[in-house]
């Protein structure tokens, strides 16, 4: 399989995703839409009562906004990932793809860059809007420096990419988009927070994706559990590797 074919297969995965209008528009709403809605609200509040409500931009609001954006981008990433992972199976097209004789590993792996092509512009676009707003609407209040912006960007991207990979892998594993979205939202929104607070689990909690990811957050890693940054990176890489391996294994072994 040459590079040109790999590019074609990635483009095909991207095509399948970007032509899903509902997925695209909801993902846009959950990324840039959230930023626009947040700034619009803060601008209106500031305009209505400048004493009570500070400027929409600035350092403080920026941190809060990116933190909220991380959650919403996670939802969008899970949706995109689940669609990329379960789309062919759900449509019944996987059988045809498998009967081309092409390696099933390659059929699985091209889903990742194909999904990233849709996800990354949405996430980075939303982050860019949030950052621009932080400066544009600062009204003389302190603004984030370049290092902090990069730090927030890395944290946001790491979480979004991890959620995307988990979505692709789990949907490939169980073959259902809706179930994948449900499971991962329940995991991210409820389960990891409960598990992180169960002190009897001890060091086991260090392998939670949310715990590791929290170490990457600017000023993070202090609230519940603390671990070295390198260990957090290893844990996150472990999640990606294990997820991809599980998805690839299932794609390879599933009866088509």
């Amino acid at each position: 399989m040459n590079a040109q074919m790999v590019r074609s297969m990635i483009s095909a995965e991207f095509l399948k995703l970007r032509r899903r209008r509902a997925l695209f528009w909801w993902s846009l709403v959950l990324t840039s839409g959230v930023v626009i809605a947040a700034y619009t609200t803060m601008l209106i509040l500031h305009a209505s009562d400048a004493v009570k409500y500070g400027p929409a931009g600035g350092l403080s609001n920026y941190g809060d906004l990116v933190q909220a954006l991380t959650a919403f981008c996670g939802v969008a990433s899970i949706m995109i990932g689940a669609t990329a992972g379960g789309g062919d199976l759900g449509a019944g097209v996987f059988r045809d793809m498998a009967s081309t004789g092409r390696s099933r590993f390659s059929l699985f792996l091209v889903r990742v860059p194909g999904a990233l092509l849709l996800q990354l512009p949405l996430v980075l676009g939303a982050f860019a809007l949030a950052t621009i707003g932080a400066f544009a609407f600062a009204a003389g209040t302190p603004t984030p420096d370049a290092g902090l912006v990069v730090h927030y960007g890395v944290w946001l991207l790491a979480g979004a990419i991890l959620d995307l990979v988990l979505g692709i892998a789990l949907a490939s594993l169980i073959g259902s988009r809706a179930t994948t979205v449900g499971i991962l939202l329940a995991w991210e929104a409820i389960a990891v927070h409960i598990l992180a607070h169960l002190s009897f689990l001890g060091g086991v909690r260090d392998v939670l994706n949310s715990t590791a990811l929290d170490q990457l957050r600017p000023g993070g890693g202090q609230e519940i559990l603390s671990m070295p940054l390198a260990a957090a990176v290893v844990v996150l890489i472990g999640w990606v590797v294990v997820a991809l391996a599980a998805g690839a294994w299932r794609t390879h072994t599933i009866d088509a």
Partner: protein, 311 residues
């Protein structure tokens, strides 16, 4: 169209497939010659689709050996499948994509040459006017045609079509029949599974019948249909005398008279109708009908699959 040199496009020897304790394919011996339309017949649940899935490498076999276009499977599966177009069960597509986009997505894992054939195959199946519409709005007949177009992306030596007439109206069936014969005329081989016996009889040159996971007969259509007893139907101006005369003839095994006065004569192996004709004419009986009593494919199918008895 470039072709490989193997005289058989499919050669299965002792192929068995089990799901747990259930044997779905049982010691299948199937040989499909190159350059023909080959029908693969069987009642529902006989194992037709499983056999196709095994052939395409979608399911691993439990035992046996097979080659596809001369390539041993599964060792050279990707080489073999590079020249095979297949529709298994019904053609499925992404409903949110247009016909052309679906073909583009299907062409990607098939290679650059496949991408270059998209416009040609759309035109070939008569979908040029609807290729820009979402597949979700297509009729079953249009999906079948788009499925054929997807098969043609690889310029296939072998097309495997699972129940290709399903869901088609009479015009669609006629069109599909024409397409299949055109493919054969181009030197391709078409292996089609069906439970529509009449369709197979009209379309195919060769046939295999599968029942309960076993191939019960295979060969040319004439071989498969005529594999019963050696019988002829005789019409004469004196059926009673003719029947009496033929009963005593050494080349005759059995004689029965039909309600219309025709006589069904079962001959010994190798005996010809000419012997019977001569015997009757020499006794002054005028013969106005003398024809082989061949089973229709349907009768042969029912005979072999024992479905009449089961019903």
């Amino acid at each position: 169209m470039n072709t490989s040199s193997s005289p058989l496009v499919v050669d299965m020897r002792g192929v068995t497939k089990r799901f747990g304790d259930r044997t779905v394919l049982d010691d299948v011996e199937l040989r499909v010659p190159r350059g023909c339309a080959f029908g693969f017949l069987g009642p529902n649940g006989a194992g037709k689709t499983t056999l196709i899935r095994v052939l395409l490498g979608l399911l691993p076999v439990s035992a046996g050996e097979m080659t596809l276009l001369g390539h041993p499977l599964p060792a050279e599966r990707s080489l073999a499948l590079a020249r095979v177009g297949a529709i298994v069960e019904e053609p499925r597509f992404h409903p949110h994509l247009t016909g052309r986009e679906n073909l583009a997505a299907a062409a990607a894992p098939r290679g650059i040459e496949a991408e270059g054939r998209i416009d040609a195959v759309i035109a070939r199946v008569g979908l040029a006017g609807r290729a820009g519409d979402r597949v979700g709005s297509y009729s079953m007949g249009m999906r079948q045609r788009l499925g054929i177009a997807r098969c043609l992306l690889v310029d296939p030596e072998l097309l495997i079509l699972d129940e290709p007439m399903n869901g088609l109206d009479p015009a669609g069936i006629l069109e599909m029949r024409g397409l299949i014969r055109d493919f054969v005329d181009e030197g391709r081989t078409v292996l089609l599974s069906s439970h529509l016996l009449d369709e197979v009889e009209r379309t195919c040159d060769g046939v295999a019948i599968i029942d309960r996971g076993r191939i019960v007969t295979q060969g040319t259509l004439a071989e498969a249909v005529g594999a019963g007893d050696n019988a002829i139907l005789v019409g004469s101006d004196d059926p009673a005398l003719a029947a009496a005369l033929l009963t005593a003839h050494p080349a005759v095994i059995a004689v029965s008279t039909g309600a219309d006065g025709s006589i069904r004569v079962t001959l010994t192996e190798g005996a010809s109708a000419a012997v019977i004709n001569r015997a009757l004419v020499e006794r002054g009986i005028a013969v106005h009908r003398l024809e082989p009593d061949r089973l229709s494919l349907e009768e042969r199918f029912l005979e072999l699959t024992s479905r009449l008895g089961a019903a």
